[in-house]
């Protein structure tokens, strides 16, 4: 990578972040905004350091519930996606229902989940799962169902079984869709987990924020927000990396078209 590329990819966003933090500090001091409304950047980072142990503990819980919910979403999403994408007719029949179901705000079911499963990790895991498995199903099914009919004819005329066509064409073809959906799904799973924790849980960053707010520890609330954003970026970056690694051909063919 050239030096110019490095500036653009790393130094520029880093510099901008520092600039924003400075702006935050200056605005808070200049207008003497009360800590109860918006603590300064230094107060926030001080709180982050002071309460690092408890924040770390709860962050691990949030991370864990997100990853478990996401893992479930992959298993269920891939299985249902293959089932639906197996045949173009099933796909056409089920796709509109999927989209309709996907538009129901899943956050609305959090209270029901808490009612059923109590205040443990279960509601957060299930919310993360519910909210993130739709993009996976939809993308896997679309990748499989949109195999070129001509190619399918060429292979079927040679005596290829449906399973062979899936293995040789359908599945490799849907991989970029699948990995692309993982980026969306991981972000959604994370949001789902935190929202569920905020609604009622025994542990997790969402729950910690709720407690801190109740105790008027506003800098801790903001410290948690910062940790959340860092975790969110990390989770996204990992899936984006996996995507690049396994479906390089899709990126390359796009660049060359």
């Amino acid at each position: 990578m050239s030096w110019g590329g490095k500036t653009e990819k790393l130094i520029a966003p880093l510099g901008f972040t520092i600039l924003l933090l400075l702006l935050w500090e200056v605005v808070c001091r200049a207008f003497s905004i009360p800590q109860m409304i918006l603590p300064t950047a230094t107060e926030t980072f001080a709180a982050l350091w002071t309460f690092r142990a408890v924040i770390f503990d709860n962050a691990l819980v949030t991370l864990w519930t997100t990853v478990v919910g996401f893992g479930l979403a992959i298993v269920v999403g891939v299985a249902l996606g293959i089932g639906i994408g197996w045949h173009r007719a099933i796909y056409s029949a089920v796709y509109p229902i999927l989209v309709a179901f996907n538009s129901i705000p899943k956050v609305a079911v959090v209270p029901v989940l808490i009612l059923w499963f109590g205040l443990g990790a279960m509601p957060a895991i299930l919310t993360a799962f519910l909210i993130s498995f739709f993009p996976i199903i939809v993308n896997v099914a679309t990748g499989l169902a949109t195999v070129e009919p001509e190619l399918e004819d060429v292979l079927r005329a040679l005596g290829a079984k449906k399973m062979q066509i899936m293995r040789k064409v359908g599945i490799p073809r849907s991989l970029p869709h699948f990995f692309g959906s993982l980026k969306v799904a991981i972000t959604l799973a994370f949001v789902g987990a935190v929202v569920a924790e905020t609604a009622g849980a025994s542990k997790g960053l969402g729950k910690l924020m709720l407690d801190a707010q109740a105790a008027f520890q506003v800098p801790v609330v903001f410290a948690c927000l910062i940790v959340l954003s860092v975790l969110g970026i990390l989770l996204y970056a990992v899936t984006a990396l996996v995507e690049r690694r396994y479906t390089g051909w899709a990126f390359r063919s796009q660049q060359n078209l």
Binding site: E148, E150, L151, V154, L155, G159, R173, A250, R252, S253
Partner: protein, 270 residues
């Protein structure tokens, strides 16, 4: 001489007996080693004819036979190529054209242990169509004409006795198309397989084929057979000769009649 491909009074409607009648009373026969072209108005059932002959769809009425055997399902002695080259972007050109070998027996069994032999074969097929040395390239690195050449290679890799081409050159520019006419002409001369070419380009049909079949509007059936007996090998400037253009005009008139009949049957959608 006995026919290699024969369709005898074949009817097919999509969506069962009550559905849309695509072809009806379709009969034709093609000799071994013959180059047949099928022309007709669009939607008349040319692609359906392809699917019927290769066993992809079963007719409701009539019989189809290839190489002396009734067709009841897919037959692997056929190679197919369509207008859309549909090469897989994650495979190199070489791996793309070897795809049929991963499906058709006995190659599927042998491929693992005799890979070198098959790679050599694939490379020789690439050379035949003028793509020597392009095997390692990915499809997106090839031009449209080169992709269509690869598509032909994929159709030919398992040495099919019957090559079915469905408007293979439709999406190419005029120069590339003429180049590929030369390629397919030479392949046919060298390998002696039977070809059925569906096309809407009458000059392409007359230039390449031994016999041109004209189909009626939907429901399609063969309404005329025209033998083309220009000597082979045919030079490309044949297409500028008066005798050549006479035949093209004759066929064009026949298709115009077929289309006019169709318009008389069903009013144009408003």
């Amino acid at each position: 001489m006995e026919s290699f491909v024969s369709l005898n009074d074949v009817s097919l409607s999509y969506g069962g007996e009550q559905g849309l009648l695509a072809v009806s009373g379709l009969s034709m026969s093609v000799r071994k080693g013959e180059f047949a072209a099928v022309v007709g108005p669009s939607g008349c059932g040319k692609s359906t004819l392809m699917k019927l002959t290769t066993g992809l769809v079963r007719p409701q009425k009539g019989q189809i036979a290839v190489d002396g055997k009734r067709v009841f399902g897919p037959i692997s002695i056929v190679g197919m190529a369509f207008q859309n080259p549909s090469l897989l972007p994650w495979r190199t050109t070489l791996d793309n054209i070897m795809l049929p070998l991963e499906i058709v027996e006995p190659h599927r069994q042998r491929l693992g242990r005799h890979r070198d032999e098959y790679v050599a074969k694939a490379e020789s097929v690439l050379e035949l169509v003028g793509l020597k040395g392009f095997g390692a390239k990915f499809p997106w690195q090839l031009s449209g004409g080169m992709q269509q050449r690869s598509n032909l290679c994929r159709a030919l890799i398992h040495d099919p006795a019957l090559l079915m081409l469905d408007e293979p050159f439709g999406a190419l520019d005029a120069f590339t198309r003429e180049e590929l006419w030369g390629v397919i002409r030479d392949l046919h001369a060298a390998k002696g397989f039977t070809v059925i070419l569906v096309t809407h380009d009458l000059r392409e049909a007359v230039y390449l084929a031994d016999r041109v079949f004209v189909m009626s509007a939907r429901p399609g059936r063969v309404i005329q057979e025209r033998t083309i007996d220009f000597a082979r090998p045919r030079p490309i400037d044949l297409i500028y000769k008066a005798e050549f253009n006479e035949i093209v005009h004759e066929l064009r008139e026949k298709i115009a009649e077929a289309r006019a009949d169709a318009v008389a049957y069903e009013p144009a959608p408003s």
